[in-house]
């Protein structure tokens, strides 16, 4: 009986990672069909497994759908190109929100010849423990992602947490209030955030909300009483009632800069909030699909269109970008290997390849470098396997995401473009 709040928190903070793995739309349970549409791309497929929650009472089903589409389009594209000289197969295993199913997925990955967990290692440690495989290009939200020596995360919610202070600084403020649901996980996040903020000369207070809070009016009133210069949010599913309560107190993002992670503000949340969400800063490590000047986004939208998926960038979220970028990033890394190594790639060689890949820069995602953890200078983060310090800020504008900064180091103030 895993914890409801912990589950929700975990699900939300790693949603990018989870969705990044959802590259095969028609195969929710473990399967191993080759995804190559190029008859000339022969040879034993490179097998990976994504463990993700694909069924059950999903919080944001639309995110899953768009991520599936984007991942599928990307996989078809790289296989069509046969960039590695052999097809890539990604088995997506649905843990159904059940720790035992996650363990089963892990065992299946271990037994079916997968050389790594890819994109998402799932919400439960059982999956990663049972798989006993490296994790590559994962979302950086699980204990495995952040601590296992064979884990190479492409993003991390902790980087976004750090980026909160950079956003505060960019907005010209020197203090902020971090409002967070009260759970063991989020307390770690807030503590980290406070450590980083201190280093940047920003006073970051915390206000924890009991996880079973139903009425946010007293919370909003407390926030109003404290008159914060800026407001950071780490919430779960109740973001809409929370914003309604803030609005009732007369607090809006136009007056008080509000920042949170983009994964907490899915398109359906923006739709429900309407004007109330306008101006909210969202931190992300993937460019929004509305950023049509971005060459990576342009390529993503083209591939989506080519393979018959919805390709209106204004209607998609950065979850699409995350899912689409992963197979391409994998190719970028592995293409650096000699063909003979690619032909004989196994888990150990993959780990080696990751560690030696150096800095990978793609226009649609934050650059990363698996050579060494990204935050050796911040004690509370130094031990975590986070490989990028960069994030970007997007702003909500009439129900869509508008990029307002470039990817930049989260430990320094962002340069906002508006």
């Amino acid at each position: 009986m895993p914890g409801r709040v912990a589950r929700l928190v975990a699900a939300l903070i790693v949603v990018a990672g989870i969705t990044a793995g959802c590259s095969k739309s028609d195969n929710k349970s473990t399967g191993a069909s080759a995804a190559s549409s190029n008859p000339n791309c022969t040879g034993a497929p490179l097998k990976f497994t994504s463990i993700a929650t694909l069924s059950g009472p999903l919080t944001f089903p639309s995110l899953l759908t768009e991520a599936k589409n984007a991942g599928d389009a990307a996989l078809k594209a790289v296989n069509a190109e046969c960039a590695l000289g052999r097809p890539i197969v990604i088995n997506v295993c649905d843990d159904k929100g059940d720790p035992n199913e996650a363990t089963k997925c892990g065992r299946a990955a271990h037994d079916d010849g997968s050389i790594a967990l890819f994109g998402s290692s799932g919400s439960y440690d059982g999956g990663t423990s049972a798989a006993n495989l490296p994790g590559v290009l994962t979302g950086g939200g699980s204990v495995f992602d952040l601590t296992d020596p064979r884990s190479f995360s492409i993003s991390s919610p902790l980087t976004l947490v750090v980026g909160g202070s950079s956003t505060v600084a960019a907005a010209g403020k020197t203090d902020a209030l971090m409002v967070s649901i009260d759970a063991a996980v989020t307390r770690t996040f807030v503590q980290t955030s406070q450590d980083v903020a201190k280093g940047m000369g920003i006073k970051l207070d915390a206000l924890f909300i009991p996880p079973d809070t139903t009425d946010f009016a007293p919370i909003a009133a407390q926030i109003a009483e404290r008159k914060p210069s800026a407001l950071g949010l780490i919430l779960t599913t109740q973001i809409v009632p929370f914003f309604n309560a803030l609005a009732a107190e007369g607090i809006s993002a136009h007056d008080v800069p509000i920042f949170t992670a983009v994964t907490l503000m899915a398109p359906e949340v923006l739709h429900q909030l309407g004007d109330k969400a306008n101006g909210v800063y969202l931190l992300t490590q993937q460019a929004p699909p509305s950023d049509k000047d971005n060459p990576g986004i342009q390529q993503m939208l083209k591939e989506l269109k080519d393979y018959g998926y919805p390709a209106d960038g204004d209607q998609l979220s950065p979850a699409s970008t995350a899912a689409w970028a992963n197979p391409h990033a994998l190719v970028d890394i592995l293409k650096k290997l000699p063909p003979a190594d690619i032909a004989s790639l196994d888990s150990a060689k993959l780990v080696d390849a990751m560690a030696k890949a150096g800095r990978i820069s793609r226009p649609e995602i934050a650059p990363f470098d698996f050579t060494a953890p990204a935050y050796p200078d911040i004690p509370s983060l130094a031990s975590f396997r986070i490989f990028t310090r960069d994030a970007m800020v997007v702003q909500v504008e009439d129900g869509s995401y508008k990029r307002v900064s470039a990817f930049a180091d989260t430990t320094k103030p962002f340069k906002l473009e508006n």
Binding site: G3, S55, S129, N132, D212, T214, F216, A221, E225, N244
Partner: protein
């Protein structure tokens, strides 16, 4: 300074108002709970969840299908009413079952409704636009609040007044009270109890739906969120004693205000205590609950009052180990572990939960303490073990031992509320404790390792690696062995004297105390053992991971655990595996996933089908599936039992009397209830071997006097002396252990125990080591030679293995007397022993009492309306009227005492021309 004060008061007032608004949300649900409880005694855990269905319908019709608001609102409320009626139909079908069974049925409804909503409307939270105006306004200077909050507060207050009026000022309210009090009597008075209940459930359903419809725009339209409002609502209803609408609303508002103000002043409190604000976060949730806990516990009573009966619980098993089925089960499980490796993980969960459910069997099934915090105790044990393993690099087994011991100690603390509360109140108190554990420990990052959890080593036993991911089958085998060991331990408890005492306490606390059983001791023992067992299960489940986390030990899981226990059989250790199988992640989930690999929402569907299954089960086998197995097993003759009977019969010839002769003296005892003197300066004494009759008309104070002597009522003045020693301040248990033992007007046998066990409860020589010994070696349950002689004297041998419910009234009376006599008394207090006996039985009883007093030198005090029995049995009679002794003498003296005759017949005493009547001619009602 003035400005500061004004600001403070404005701010405080503002948060009071906001807190009231939050409380108003809770109050709506609480009122619905109170309505159902008032009429049926059922605690409806599903109230909020069923209301949520109405809210989903309302907003779905309005926002997705374009219905006009009034129509959509009407439809939503109608659905609420329909679900209220559905609940009624369900409860009516379960009317013959225990109250606990009906409570579990509401839990099943909660689970089914929540899961169905998840399947249909997903887990997403939407916030539909409010039906009430929700613009912010400013009142009383600078207090900003939205209009809907004020309206909500108003609605709740109006509702409380309206409900108060309806239920205390109308014929319908009167009828509801009548039905709640006694359905049969209400029916005789031409009320239609079913119709009255039907209407009440419909009103409750309407209220629940209204609550959810009004709540959804504020808290979000989401099954889980709307369902969770049940927790503070229960707390408020508890304060209102499930009967007072006004108190319930006040409590709900009060809880809201306290939480609101605490959250406001949390930073100041943190400063005051020099701790971080974050470390006090759990306080806003915990403090109101702790206040309620304290108030409830202190306003409770150490033991039920006269006439206060415990609600019936499902029958417990016998604790007999059926060797062949057990062997088959163990072999089947072992084969499953070995032959189907993919089932190992699910079996680990099943066995682990089975162990935790075994703790429910001990605490609730045997001891009758309805605890909803066993899962939290499991988590606490796991936390202690993980801390030990992490901090001291302790081996797995050492961590287990420490975790179990720590949880056992905590279990004793948790038991303290159970000393003064019971039944539904205890359920809510333990639920609150569960929430407190969660808020203060499990969600506290500094205690639980935060993001990564608490790191522990991969488990090993004596160097043997049992890592659950590397070797899931090994881990499953260890879990199976642990479950088997726990099952034997629990079965031992049941078969032993400690188990009999638990069931005696669960059956009737007063009667148990009257036999010298330490009710508190039994409860503490049950909770301690239960906590230890739960901790073992929690540790084994959590140590599968090397990063131990505790988020799963939440409140709803604690509630669901009892549901699983009821499926298997609340008092049956043999049912724990079956109960555990229904849990998410257990074997049923595994099988369902294999059978339907493409099924979405497996857990939700299993929950729905489990809930339906639970309801069916409660109808057909309210004592659990295990009771059906046992029924089957009972058809097979049990050799062991026959042996025990023969062996017992063989030793019943002993003449030796184990009893100690003592003298009882009552000196100047007075008792008042309010302004009424029930006992007024009463003095008398009873010497060893003497039989003293206590007579008097109705309300003379006879039973109160017996209550004083036996310690159940404290006198305002005077003393009770045993062999010259003042025992006035002693508890009933201590007096009983010293030889002052009583029988009861209503007999009050322990109905879940056989006649033999009823006698054994009185006959057992208990000590603290005996409780511990019972865990591993309960020994054979045989009556002492003295008890066997009593059995023969009263002709009970033929019914020794029967339950009291199968006996005639006369036989029940004899068993009650036998139980009293068997408990090694020096002073026996008999309260109407002959009531309901026929003339022959009464005559037999006379000789038994006389023989018993003479042979064993026991002093007997007897209240009886059968004057023939009194006159033939007693050496002396003490007559009471209006609490005073009006006569004290031999039967002959009292028989003709003018005052006594006057007390029975009233003024004028007699016609001087007629002969003076004697008491033998008077039909005395001494009830």
């Amino acid at each position: 300074m003035v400005i500061a004060t004004e600001f403070l008061s404005q701010t405080t007032l503002r948060f009071v108002l906001l807190g009231m608004a939050t409380g108003a949300l809770t109050a709506l649900v609480a009122l619905s709970i109170v309505i159902v409880y008032r009429v049926s005694g059922v605690l409806n855990f599903a109230a909020a969840a069923l209301g949520a269905v109405g809210a989903f319908i309302c907003y779905s019709l309005r926002d997705d299908h374009g219905w006009p608001t009034p129509l959509a609102l009407g439809a939503g409320l109608l659905v609420g009413v329909a679900l209220g009626i559905f609940t009624y139909v369900l409860m009516a079908a379960l009317r013959q079952t225990s109250l606990l069974a009906r409570l579990i049925a509401t839990l099943a409804l909660l689970t089914a409704a929540q899961s169905a909503m998840l399947v249909i409307w997903s887990n997403q939270v939407s916030a539909p636009s409010s039906l009430l105006p929700d613009d912010s306004i400013t009142i009383a200077g600078d207090i900003r609040i939205t209009q809907d909050r004020l309206i909500l507060i108003g609605i709740v207050l109006v509702l409380a007044v309206a409900l108060r009026f309806v239920y205390s000022g109308t014929l319908f309210g009167l009828a509801t009270s009548a039905v709640a009090e006694n359905r049969r009597v209400a029916a005789i008075a031409r009320w239609a109890p079913s119709r009255i209940e039907f209407v009440n459930y419909a009103i409750a359903g309407l209220l629940s739906a209204l609550a959810a419809i009004l709540l959804a725009p504020i808290v979000g339209l989401n099954a889980a969120i709307l369902s969770i409002t049940i927790l503070p609502a229960l707390a408020a209803a508890l304060v209102g004693r499930f009967s007072s609408f006004a108190l319930t609303v006040i409590a709900a508002l009060g809880i809201g205000i306290i939480q609101s103000e605490l959250s406001l002043y949390q930073p100041d409190l943190a400063d005051f205590f020099s701790v971080s604000t974050a470390s006090l976060t759990g306080l806003t949730e915990a403090v109101p609950l702790i206040i309620i806990l304290v108030v409830t516990v202190f306003s409770g009573r150490a033991r039920p009052t006269r006439g206060e009966m415990a609600s019936r619980l499902p029958l417990p098993g016998s604790g007999q180990v059926a060797r062949i089925p057990l062997a088959i089960g163990l072999v089947a499980a072992a084969v499953l572990i070995v032959a189907v490796p993919s089932y190992a993980d699910a079996l680990i969960v099943t066995f682990g939960l089975g162990i935790i459910i075994a703790s429910v069997v001990v605490v609730s099934g045997y001891a009758g303490q309805l605890s909803l915090c066993q899962y939290a105790l499991a988590g606490f044990g796991a936390w202690a073990a993980a801390k030990t393993a992490n901090s001291f690099d302790a081996p797995f087994l050492v961590a287990i031992v420490v975790g179990v011991l720590v949880a056992t100690v905590i279990g004793v603390l948790v038991a303290l509320p159970a000393v003064r509360t019971r039944g539904v109140t205890l359920a809510i108190v333990t639920l609150a404790l569960s929430l407190v554990f969660s808020a203060i420990v499990f969600q506290n990052a500094s205690l639980t390792g935060g993001f990564s959890g608490i790191k522990v080593r991969s488990p090993e036993i004596f160097g043997f690696d049992i890592d659950s991911f590397e070797h899931p089958q090994r881990y499953a085998a260890v879990m199976l062995l642990a479950l088997a060991a726990v099952s034997f331990l629990v079965a031992n408890i049941r078969r032993g004297a400690s188990g009999r005492r638990m069931i005696a306490v669960r059956s009737n606390e007063r009667a148990a105390a009257g036999l010298g059983i330490s009710v508190i001791g039994v409860k503490l023992f049950a909770f301690a053992v239960g906590a230890g067992i739960a901790a073992l299960g929690g540790i084994l489940l959590t140590f599968r991971q090397t990063n131990v986390q505790f988020g799963g030990f939440d409140v709803f899981s604690s509630i669901l655990l009892v549901q699983y226990a009821v499926i298997g059989g609340l008092g049956w250790i043999s049912g724990v595996v079956l109960g555990a199988s229904a849990a998410p992640g257990a074997i049923s989930t595994r099988i369902t996933n294999d059978l339907f690999p493409n099924l979405d929402n497996v857990a939700a569907w299993i929950a729905i089908f489990s809930a339906v299954g639970v309801v069916q089960l409660l109808r057909r086998a309210p004592d659990g599936v295990a009771s059906l197995w046992a029924e089957f097993g009972r058809r097979v003759p049990v050799l062991a039992r026959r042996r025990a009977v023969v062996a017992a019969a063989a030793i019943s010839e002993s003449d030796e009397s184990p009893l100690t002769a003592r003298e009882l003296e009552v000196r100047g005892v007075s008792v008042s209830f309010g302004g009424v003197k029930a006992v007024d300066d009463v003095s008398f004494n009873v010497t060893p071997g003497e039989v003293v009759g206590l007579i008097g008309p109705n309300g003379a104070g006879k039973t109160t006097l017996l209550d004083v002597i036996s310690g159940f009522t404290r006198q305002q003045s005077g003393r009770v002396l045993l062999d010259g020693k003042d025992v006035s301040t002693w508890s009933p248990e201590r007096r009983a252990r010293s030889g002052i033992v009583r029988s009861w007007q209503g007999v009050e046998l322990f109905e879940e125990l056989t006649v033999r066990d009823n006698l054994l409860v009185a006959d057992d020589q208990m000590s603290t080591p005996r409780y511990l010994r019972d865990l591993v070696w309960p020994g054979r349950s045989t009556l002492s030679s003295y008890a066997e002689s009593v059995v023969d004297d009263l002709g009970l041998r033929a019914v020794l293995d029967e339950r009291p419910t199968t006996l005639s009234h006369g036989m029940i009376k004899l068993v009650g007397i036998a139980r009293t006599i068997v408990s090694n008394p020096s002073i026996v207090l008999l309260d109407e022993p002959a009531a309901g006996l026929d003339r022959d039985e009464s005559r037999e009883l006379t000789s038994v009492i006389r023989h018993f007093a003479t042979r064993h030198g026991v002093a007997v005090v007897i209240i009886e309306h059968d004057m023939a029995l009194i006159l033939n049995t007693c050496d002396r009679i003490v007559a009471l009227d209006f609490g005073r002794v009006i006569a004290d003498g031999t039967p002959r003296e009292v028989q003709t005492d003018e005052l006594v005759i006057r007390a029975y017949l009233g003024e004028p005493i007699v016609d001087p021309t007629t002969p003076t009547p004697t008491l033998s001619a008077v039909e005395v009602d001494a009830s």
